[in-house]
């Protein structure tokens, strides 16, 4: 029983951590129609920033400021947001698939920097010994993880409530207006370029936050932590849950992460040890299959889009 609970806590920590990134992507794609195929890159920026700010000092490597956990998370958001401003200024004028290709390239480039800029990222060895704040608050991994889960839940709830308020605000309706018809939105005096950039930066900051929470929990960050497959996973979570709906984003994160870890567990029990090395491939095949089947059978995802109408407009009907 303890085993099940401790596993459930572990599962929820990671599912919610990814869920925050999925909500960020939902803001960008579900509400604004921005195709960000570089999610892994923004997670990495957040993860490394958190590690540099909170990690222990080490010889010959920059960082190790040993700052508080919260400062690390805020720094992670800020760093991802700043990178997003630069990226957004260059790429957001591109349409749809060009934006996808360009952001995909950014994630590849960020990963190259992670591997090669040893002075800052620790290169292939990565950064180790990132303190997990729950370690000082309780004894034993079960209690510690429960406390960390509490923190992640708090952050996720804050992100969820904040995003709900934002997308139901007038600014949120402008996002959808731009997604549906940019020219019409512009003719109503809205500034699509600026609003698109704001949405992109806010979404990427959430991805940075997610990366920071991930690294804070694992206690380590290396160049192989944020491979392009994470981008595919986060996208699958959004599509399965239902884009345009924050509840769907969280649900999709839980379901897809459940399939990923569940299939990994099943493979480790069923498949012979000499084939275990390829179990990751089987998991990835499953994710690809889920994505394609969802698009074919249930293109709106598990929960469809929320309709938000202005309070004032609702009064008149």
């Amino acid at each position: 029983m303890i085993g099940v609970i401790s596993y459930l806590i572990f599962f929820l920590i990671l599912a919610l951590t990814f869920g925050i990134a999925v909500m960020g992507l939902n803001l960008q794609w579900g509400f604004t129609g921005l195709f960000n195929a570089g999610v892994a890159g923004f997670l990495a920026v957040g993860g490394y920033t958190h590690a540099i700010l909170t990690g222990p000092a080490r010889d010959a490597v920059f960082g190790g400021f040993e700052l508080p956990f919260v400062v690390g998370l805020l720094g992670a958001m800020l760093a991802s947001g700043l990178v997003a401003i630069v990226v957004g200024l260059v790429t957001l004028r591109l349409r749809d698939e060009y934006l996808a290709v360009a952001t995909f390239g950014i994630a590849v480039s960020i990963q190259l920097v992670a591997v090669n800029w040893e002075y800052v990222t620790g290169g292939t060895l990565g950064l180790i010994g990132i303190p997990n704040p729950s370690k000082g608050l309780a004894d034993g991994p079960l209690r510690q993880n429960a406390i960390y889960l509490g923190m992640v839940v708090l952050v996720a709830v804050l992100a969820y409530v904040g995003l709900q308020r934002i997308v139901q605000s007038p600014w949120g309706r402008v996002l959808k207006a731009i997604r549906e018809d940019e020219v019409a939105a512009a003719s109503l005096g809205k500034n699509p370029t600026r609003v698109r950039l704001e949405s992109f930066v806010l979404g990427c900051a959430l991805m940075g936050l997610s990366g920071g929470l991930y690294v804070g929990f694992i206690g380590f960050v290396g160049a192989t932590d944020f491979l392009p497959i994470i981008t595919f996973q986060i996208w699958t979570m959004l599509i399965v849950g239902g884009s345009g709906n924050m509840k769907g984003a969280l649900l999709g994160a839980a379901v897809v992460w459940g399939v990923w870890t569940g299939s990994g567990f099943a493979i480790s029990k069923i498949v012979a040890p000499e084939w275990q090395a390829q179990s990751g491939a089987l998991q990835a095949v499953l994710i690809g299959l889920i994505l394609v089947l969802t698009l074919l059978m249930r293109p709106k995802g598990m929960i469809g889009e929320d309709v938000h109408v202005s309070r004032h407009a609702a009064d008149t009907t």
């Binding site: 749809d96 360009a102 390239g105 950014i106 595919f232 390829q278 994710i287």
Partner: protein
């Protein structure tokens, strides 16, 4: 050194160019960025491996050609890979992309291509394992060209075959009814349809030509470098860079775009650390989208 880098750049550029033809046509005629196109190179390379392995097991049809590392099996493997990869692409089209195109926007096709890419790449990993494989273990001696440039005989074959394929495709696009219909559809699908062009047929040809080009590029990559399950995945950005540089829908654009990408990658090592070489195609994409979004050979709207 600069001559050697140039030669290497042309050789890798030829492979990228061949692979990018299909991507470029897909972007123009099917109107979506197919992130799974690069996996067709991988599948082509491994289809070739299957054929070569079977042929070798059956006796190998007698020896290798002169200084080349291969004989008839590899030539036939190229044909087999092109046919098999075309069948695979048509299957993907009928099972997934065609159905989605009927009901949703073109961005849904891009998500679907994400999923298909994951499926295809990891299926290769499951079946063939992660270790690099070679078509043949024959050792080759490099040919010394003027300027102290070394190339392998197989690489000369690569270049010659690329030229033959491009000429054949040029003739197909300009002389055959299907080729002309393809160009018409690329210009304006609606106009082509009312002029009696069978657009469904054109779409199938786009897949066949794209998959065949990808398969040949994949086999040539396997021949001159090595076979790995990430073979195609590692080429996603170079392929997109070539297609976007050349301008979507342009045969020569894709090939010349490929050469530019290959040359830039290989010459870049003279000014930036080799480890950052994979970022070069991305920088090219940004530059071209910024300064000339319709591509070098595309027409301005």
């Amino acid at each position: 050194m600069i001559l050697q880098h140039t030669a290497d750049g042309i050789l890798s550029g030829a492979i990228i160019g061949l692979g990018a033809i299909g991507l470029s046509f897909t972007m123009k005629i099917l109107r979506f960025a197919n992130f799974s196109h690069s996996e067709l190179l991988t599948w082509g390379a491994y289809f070739g491996l299957i054929f070569v392995s079977v042929a070798t097991a059956m006796g190998g049809f007698g020896g290798t050609f002169g200084p080349l590392s291969f004989g008839w099996p590899l030539i036939l493997a190229l044909v087999f890979a092109a046919v098999a990869t075309s069948v695979l692409a048509l299957l993907l089209h009928h099972l997934i992309f065609e159905r989605l195109a009927k009901v949703t926007g073109h961005m849904t096709m891009v998500f679907a291509s994400f999923g298909v890419a994951l499926l295809l790449r990891n299926a290769v990993l499951l079946i063939f394992g992660a270790d690099p494989i070679y078509y043949s273990n024959t050792l080759q001696f490099a040919v010394l060209l003027p300027g102290n440039v070394r190339v392998l005989p197989d690489q000369v074959f690569l270049l010659a075959l690329t030229i033959v394929v491009v000429i054949a495709l040029h003739l197909f696009m300009t002389r055959s009814r299907t080729g002309i219909a393809m160009r018409a559809t690329a210009e304006s699908p609606d106009l082509a349809r009312v002029s009696g062009v069978n657009v469904n047929n054109v779409v199938r040809w786009v897949w066949v030509i794209g998959a065949s080009g990808a398969a040949v590029a994949g086999v040539l990559y396997g021949l001159t470098v090595q076979l790995r399950p990430e073979l195609g995945f590692a080429l996603i950005l170079p392929l997109f860079a070539a297609a976007i540089l050349g301008g979507a829908g342009s045969l020569y654009g894709a090939v010349i775009g490929g050469l530019i990408v290959g040359l830039s990658e290989n010459l870049s090592v003279m000014i930036i650390p080799t480890t950052y070489k994979p970022a070069v195609p991305f920088l090219l994409i940004l530059a071209i989208l910024y300064f000339r979004p319709q591509g070098l050979f595309g027409e301005k709207k």
